[in-house]
């Protein structure tokens, strides 16, 4: 279980890492719906306080790029995607709340490339819980959280869920 302070520190760690490696250069943060956009917004606010560069912001819904339609009873409800800056030549940092199998990121890379050809794409995640099924590694990690494969990691964030916390539901016998 993580609380609001842990989450705030994780967001700060992300902003510090991004600042250190990309300081001063124009950046576009793209949050993956839903909750990745809220993490991205918080990181953006910290970076914007430096006032030293152009920052763009977008949100991406990856429902139409998922690879698991066959297994779903119902196709996921689509939310709006909003990429208000030119993707061609941009330095994009994809932001998500939890990195697990890597399939969401695979889908997000496909989606973003349908908007143009970025100069560079990096990945920032608030929580890395391990258990990758795709060759995807984050460039920036807020919190590394050891979990078991079948655990459920529930992230709640203020705007989406009314409070900041992370809960792990254990599905395997201890």
């Amino acid at each position: 279980m993580l609380d609001a302070d842990d989450i705030a520190r994780g967001v700060q760690t992300l902003a510090d890492g991004i600042r250190e490696r990309t300081g001063g250069k124009p950046l576009a943060l793209v949050g993956i719906r839903s909750r990745g956009d809220e993490v991205a917004e918080r990181v953006l606010n910290l970076l914007a306080a430096d006032g030293d560069r152009d920052l763009s912001f977008g949100v991406l819904d990856i429902s139409l790029y998922r690879d698991d339609f066959e297994h779903l009873r119902e196709n996921p409800a689509i939310q709006e995607t909003d990429i208000p800056f030119p993707v061609d030549g941009a330095h994009i940092i994809l932001v998500d709340d939890v990195l697990f199998t890597g399939r969401t990121i695979r889908a997000a890379l496909d989606a973003i490339s349908d908007y143009g050809r970025p100069a560079k794409v990096e990945l920032a995640v608030l929580i890395d819980r391990g258990h990758r099924e795709m060759p995807v590694q984050p460039d920036y990690v807020g919190i590394t959280l050891p979990t078991r494969r079948l655990d459920h990691v529930h992230v709640s964030l203020e705007r989406c869920d009314g409070r900041d916390e992370v809960r792990i539901d254990s599905k395997e016998p201890a």
């Binding site: 429902s63 009873r73 119902e74 689509i78 709006e80 349908d114 908007y115 143009g116």
Partner: protein, 306 residues
């Protein structure tokens, strides 16, 4: 919950209609990208089974399916064994063997898409059957209205023309009524049904209808064969009584009234030429929205029942 088939608007409740309209908006947004395609239905097959000629609806469904990355096969009447007398049953067995995932059906007989839906595992979308239903037209019209009036309850739409034989009038009225829109009909006495659907009112003259203060006027296409069958005296007479003439268009403009039409327009009959440049025409929006709504429908349906 998703359904296997979309056969008519009647089967849908308000929340399902609203869900489909909500889901159409993100599809429409894709059209502004240079890559208009998404991989959602990659590897799925869509069969276009059109027993009746259609250019607009056919191409709209085809574009929708292709923008979802599905493979589209045409089973056109004129070019296939359907013309050689193959029965519907045989056609269904063929498409079953082809492992088709979605079938888009247009047929002159009311109820035929429903029959096909019962006989196949594929999802069936009714693209117009007889005078019965044209559900995706109803949905795209509702979507187009809702873009202008996000709050649909109590809005007023006047539908003008051959209500009696029109599956568009039927499906569009149903969709609008389910969204709380007030609907009225205006048309030649011989072309408006004697029994009106629940809550729909009827006017006999253009002036009377305008007194009701509609916010949208929806013109139905005049089917020329109806005139030959003498449902109304002449096209010129029709235009004078029920058409949007230049004089009427000026009044509509002053009042900011929107115009809709399922296309293609018989110019000089339902609408005067000037309507092509009319500020409050939603006719092109309907075409664009049709693709988005059909994408949302295909994405929502789940093949595999039956």
């Amino acid at each position: 919950m998703p359904r296997k088939d979309l056969l008519d608007i009647e089967a849908l409740d308000r929340s399902e209609i609203e869900h489909l309209l909500d889901q159409s908006a993100p599809f429409k947004e894709l059209f502004t990208r240079s890559v208009k395609k998404v991989p959602a239905l990659k590897g799925k097959s869509v069969l276009m089974l059109f027993y009746e000629p259609s250019t607009r609806t056919h191409s709209s469904f085809e574009v929708a399916a292709k923008r979802l990355s599905a493979d589209v096969t045409n089973f056109d009447v004129g070019h296939s064994s359907i013309a050689k007398g193959e029965s519907v049953r045989e056609t269904i067995e063929t498409l079953q063997a082809m492992r088709t995932d979605y079938v888009i059906v247009r047929h002159m007989a009311s109820g035929m898409p429903g029959t096909i839906a019962r006989l196949t595992r594929a999802s069936v979308v009714n693209a117009g059957d007889g005078a019965h239903a044209h559900p995706t037209q109803g949905l795209l019209d509702a979507f187009t209205l809702r873009e202008k009036f996000p709050q649909t309850d109590g809005r007023r739409v006047l539908i003008v023309g051959d209500i009696l034989h029109s599956r568009v009038a039927r499906s569009t009225s149903l969709a609008l009524r389910k969204l709380g829109v007030e609907v009225a009909y205006l048309g030649p006495g011989s072309l408006v049904p004697a029994r009106l659907p629940d809550g729909v009112r009827r006017f006999t003259s253009y002036d009377e209808a305008m007194g009701w203060r509609p916010e949208v006027i929806y013109l139905l296409r005049v089917q020329m064969e109806r005139q030959e069958a003498q449902y109304f005296p002449s096209l010129r007479e029709y235009h004078r009584l029920y058409g949007v003439t230049e004089e009427r268009l000026r009044i509509l403009h002053d009042q900011g009234i929107y115009i809709m039409h399922p296309g293609p327009v018989n110019r000089g009959v339902e609408l005067c030429d000037a309507v092509m440049d009319y500020e409050f025409s939603l006719i092109n929006d309907q075409v664009e929205n049709g693709i988005a709504v059909r994408m949302a429908v295909l994405y929502w349906l789940k093949p595999g029942g039956a």
